[in-house]
Symmetry: D2
Subunit: 135 residues, 4 copies
Amino acid sequence: MPYTYTRTIRLADTDAAGIVFFANYLGLCHEAYEAALTAAGLPVQSFITGGDVIVPIAKSSVDYLRPLQCGDRVSIALTTSLLSENSFAIDYVITRLGPPDKVAARVRTEHVCTSRSRRERTALPDALAAWVQAG
Amino acid sequence: MPYTYTRTIRLADTDAAGIVFFANYLGLCHEAYEAALTAAGLPVQSFITGGDVIVPIAKSSVDYLRPLQCGDRVSIALTTSLLSENSFAIDYVITRLGPPDKVAARVRTEHVCTSRSRRERTALPDALAAWVQAG
Amino acid sequence: MPYTYTRTIRLADTDAAGIVFFANYLGLCHEAYEAALTAAGLPVQSFITGGDVIVPIAKSSVDYLRPLQCGDRVSIALTTSLLSENSFAIDYVITRLGPPDKVAARVRTEHVCTSRSRRERTALPDALAAWVQAG
Amino acid sequence: MPYTYTRTIRLADTDAAGIVFFANYLGLCHEAYEAALTAAGLPVQSFITGGDVIVPIAKSSVDYLRPLQCGDRVSIALTTSLLSENSFAIDYVITRLGPPDKVAARVRTEHVCTSRSRRERTALPDALAAWVQAG
């Protein structure tokens, strides 16, 4: 079962077209990613902002399938996959909760594990690799 | 007991100073306001974006007492007060949860009930007035 | 010559990792898109928020090549291409201005022209089609 | 003459109420503050994110006078004033450019100069004090 994060769409997520601004779908997915790492007991701040080994995003893509409005309830399901010993992908499905539930977007981010001090790619830390491989 | 909203500080809330960007404290409080209206069964979208009677914010103020970092847990407690038959205030206390808990900011927003069609102030709808008076 | 938009990276664009938050690259590109439409004399608000014919984004993708920091100057060059009679793509190159200049990201958005009243795809308005075909 | 920053309101500034989200007025003012420091030759990144001496915001307040929409042109004029040897205020007037011009908001931020290493208030650096006193 993939990790699933649930959230209500808020006014600040939307724009004057009355729906969630397209860039904010990526922000929603990063929220789900942070929540998933936290739920797995991994040190989010270390990997994201603090340590020598960080996992910046190298690619992102979004397929926008349905608009989302203020007040909508959404779930975001994450599936992780190892791409190499120093990179991984996360596939997200954003679902607008109903009934009936409707897929609102499919998002993918690719992350490359990097050593800041050595300025080069480095193997995923064991705990992170285990989380990625758990799916 | 004031309504209390709880939230984890996320990467997107922060800036390169390593802490929550000062404008985002207002966004956090608006999240709490939307959650409080929803919890009270009030039609958030109607009052905020959709109906003829809206309650735009006329004033806001923030006292920043402590910085907040990615991963911090915060609670936001709301206290409402009627200012006139067509306006109200919300006072928010943002607390960084510990132990020990520390007050991170005090925020106030003032709202003026407005009819879009008549372009003038109008009395609060009964359900909203009841919510404000409940404190 | 593609339309080019220039901008300084600001604190609010960044996150606690000290660099521009990955979702904000899409926001930067949308700024450039709005500026390009305005420079071409096209009614931005009509296409984006107001009219019956809108051009929502159906796909986006980003290749992140270099981080961007507060104070960096960037240029964003747009190249447009028609995909069908009712859709088009925009390719953006975000360059961190030097010397030396360095490509910081490549971004693509795909837009589908839609009639809100008829809830279906519709041909691009002539003025928009002309702008897309001009490249 | 106060420093004046000019900007077009963009889709990302707005929310589903069709106007600029109230928290974003503070973001607009911080943009103007960063531009003013840069124009004065002061090291923005040092004061904001990087050095030992930083000038975090201790208070902010906004009077919202008129809504702003996507496409509106605004000017933001800054007036600075010294509050003590280690603090200063900035008053901003956000004007929606016409004709006729209309004041859209009045904003104030108060900044306290702080040494990160000593965790206490400290005197403004000379160059910053000179900028504040120039008004």
